[in-house]
Amino acid sequence: MEKTLNKLDRPNSYIGRSVTRPNAKRLLTGKGRYVTDMKLPRMLYAAFVRSPYAHAKILSVDTSAALEVEGVHLVATGEDLAKLCKPWVGTLDHFHNMKSTPQLPLATDKVVWAGQAVAAVVARSRAIAEDAAELVNVEYEELPVVTDIDAAREEGAAIINPELGTNVSFALKLESGDVEAAFKDSAVVVEETFRFGRHTAVTMEPRAIIADYNAAEEQLTVYHATQTPYQFQDLYSRHYGIAESRVRVVAPDIGGSFGMKLHVYHEDMAVVGLSMMAGRPVKYTADRMESFLSDIHARDHRVHASLAADASGSILGMKVDDVTAIGAFSSFPRTSVVEGNQVVRLMGAPYRFRNYRGDLNVVFQNKVQTSQYRAVGHPIACAVTEALMDDMARRVGLDPFEIRRRNIITQDMYPYTSPTGYKFERLSHEECLKNLHDMMDYPRLVKEQRDLREKGIYRGIGIAMFVEITNPSPAFYGVGGARISSQDGAIVKITPSGEVQCLISVGEHGQGTETIVGQIVAENLGVDRETVRVITGDTDVTPQGGANWACRGAGIGGETAFQAAKKLKENVLHVAGAILQAKPADLDMQNAQIVDAATGNIRMSLADVARISYYRSDTLPSDISPQLTVAHHYSPRGYPFAFTNGVQGCHVEVDVETGFTKILGMWVAEDCGRVINPMLVDEQVRGGAIQGLGAAFFEECRYSETGQLENGSLADYLVPMALEMPDIKIMHIETPTRDTELGAKGCGEAGTAASSAAAINAVNDAIAPLGAHVSQIPMTPQRLLRALGHA
């Protein structure tokens, strides 16, 4: 019987099915409601006065002319807001000896990056606020600027934060096995210095916030384009001294986030204080130039790494020295060292060597903060590891697939602990590698490459394996003292008409959280998914939780919904059993009916159970309490992270005369555990891969020596467009985690984790016959021409 009936053929089977997103219809008709669209009665608008210097003392701030402008309600200085807002410090306890200085919404005595907000104007319209902001007169005394990643650590360098006495925020040394012996015993060593350009998230909707402080109720309501409303409820409460229960953060439709919209931004904190000062709602929307200046950047790394192998290409050890520059402060509350920490811990992750040394130095510089952005640290660890693997393959005369096959962690080795301490429950490197090889038709590409080279056409094939960190447990932030939740909560209820509502703490930013939660709840309760309404993003309404970061939506949010729905089903069947005088265990739910579990015969409708429970509980036995609402919270308790894995392939053609690269093809074999909605996972992976390709070829926040951002607009900071990007073929391998019943892990970082690495390897493969090589991204035409000896 089992053989003929597919699981997906059963009624209300949605887990694993590519269903469409109900909420997409709203967005497709222009009826999305983003914070940028919102207007409250008597709302005022804020604009900020920003420092033109990357490092300077503030001598004076004169707001008098700005206050004269008609329509201006107030002008606030750093001192004004410092009276209301407690400072914050971006350190975590488990990063031993980490340093950063206290931050306030607006600069008080000095500025440390060009674009830092110094004063705020609140006016009747944004245009008036901007007019008046130009009239705020700030006197500065310039200080020496530190921009270079190495110069920051040099003897005699200007110290950005004199109270810390150093420009080093954090240093870490990881040592495992005997790396010196491994290198001494090796037959081949490859080494290289890699440079990764600063880039930024560029969400299409810029940061936006409306703070509405009601003094009569001591109530703060904040409409905030954020991924993490609960985190901000906590922060606004603590830093402004408002009772937590009276802080409501609402995150409606969010126009892209990618990790960028979970950090504390100075302007956002300021807006809360400005609303308290004005006694009215205050809105701030970053314009695109402000986004480039003040959104977090990421990936500013210089890595020197070496790999040692025996003559057969078996890796014996790896040494890594990562220096990362983070701006003048560490960001809050997640800190700016998480990326570097993940870089040195993810190095070599797919491979089974035991001898490793990782050095990390996190340094300050006079630029805006860097912090977590999609696939934190992964692209750097992956690019370094995979570029060295290719180099090693060339040196020992192996094909790139073959050297990986020889070194990956194989099925018989799990559970496996990496030399950097990560515990892998079960990954699927062998299967992914084999599938990618087939999917790409690798032998055909290699043959074509050889044939075309004779005609002066340079094509390259690059592959890159990755391990992705998802579903972090409290070991990630909680142990470091950060008030960032690793658990999530769901409330599922049956309405009196027998429909279902699920309020859940994970949010929806377009990735499809609402859809997959609806699928999970509908399948568990045996109802049509159209009858399940999923509600997210309001701290007054939805249960407390960590919300969206580090790919927690399906793995943690999904499991929470799964368990909540299961509990609710038990309750429904308990009530139905009393009504039908049947054992709950003999009943089941299907198509919104209570059925006999054995035969599928309909006994009564779910709507009748609900109607009786809510309106005629007098007819139920007195020991039956009709609990048709359940709340459930879930936090990972097994492995500290649910690691996912995969491998990507990239096919490029480099025009060796112009330095332009065309991406001909992209393939991804990935394993995110149980796939809840293949279409949505495909799109997550594709979108992620494109962000990695952007980093590989276009995206870089370029600064002058004086710390001025030189390309702060979408006209000169290039993001990938449709014409430059390829179709991406995707294949899923499913290795569910056994830590949860659902078995899902995350998939949001997977695309970004390895696509830059695959692209670097492809370009280097293309230009290798010309004796050229690149180890810096983005691989701009200019850099490629330089590598080719043309410039």
Partner: protein
């Protein structure tokens, strides 16, 4: 700077009249004055395409025009195109293919797709990708968007002309 001037124009088939500051952009006018927030602002310099609207039937960047320049003209936004069902098939294809994630660029994408498809030719994937080059999307990999437009192009071609050969 803030002396206000009267303007009157047709927006989504209705005549609207307002007195506004001359420096107000058409995008701000649509969003702030008319509450037509389907027109989004991503870059405010005519690069990202999120603010595209139709001006007398042609796609223009609402962020690059002053509202006063639209005086006496005919403007249609995604809300208007939706209401008169001019893009229903495109919206359906986008929905079925999940050709959007956060949705912020989507309304501009739809205006571009509408204009591209109104030309009536069956478009190749390369042509569709080229035509989308003024529309940035940060969430998708563009592929589902290209698929959707291709699907509609083919369906409209079949519906518009008796198919000569099956495929």
């Amino acid at each position: 700077m803030s002396e206000r001037v009267p303007i009157a124009l047709e927006v989504n088939g209705e005549t609207v009249a307002r007195t506004i500051e001359p420096r107000m952009s058409l995008a701000d006018f649509l969003r702030e004055e008319l509450e037509l927030t389907g027109t989004h602002l991503g870059c405010e310099m005519g690069v990202c395409g999120a603010c595209l609207v139709l001006l007398n039937g042609k796609a223009v960047h609402a962020c690059l025009m002053f509202a006063v320049q639209a005086h006496g003209e005919r403007v249609e936004t995604v809300e208007g195109l939706t209401e008169r069902k001019a893009i229903a098939d495109i919206q359906e294809a986008f929905h079925n293919n999940n050709a959007l994630q956060c949705g912020f660029c989507t309304t501009g994408m739809l205006v571009t797709a509408h204009e591209m498809l109104s030309r009536g030719d069956i478009l190749s994937r390369e042509e569709i990708r080229d035509g989308l080059s003024g529309n940035y999307c940060r969430c998708t990999g563009y592929q589902a968007i290209v698929n959707s437009i291709e699907t509609v192009a083919q369906a409209r071609a079949v519906a518009g002309a008796a198919p000569s050969k099956p495929e």
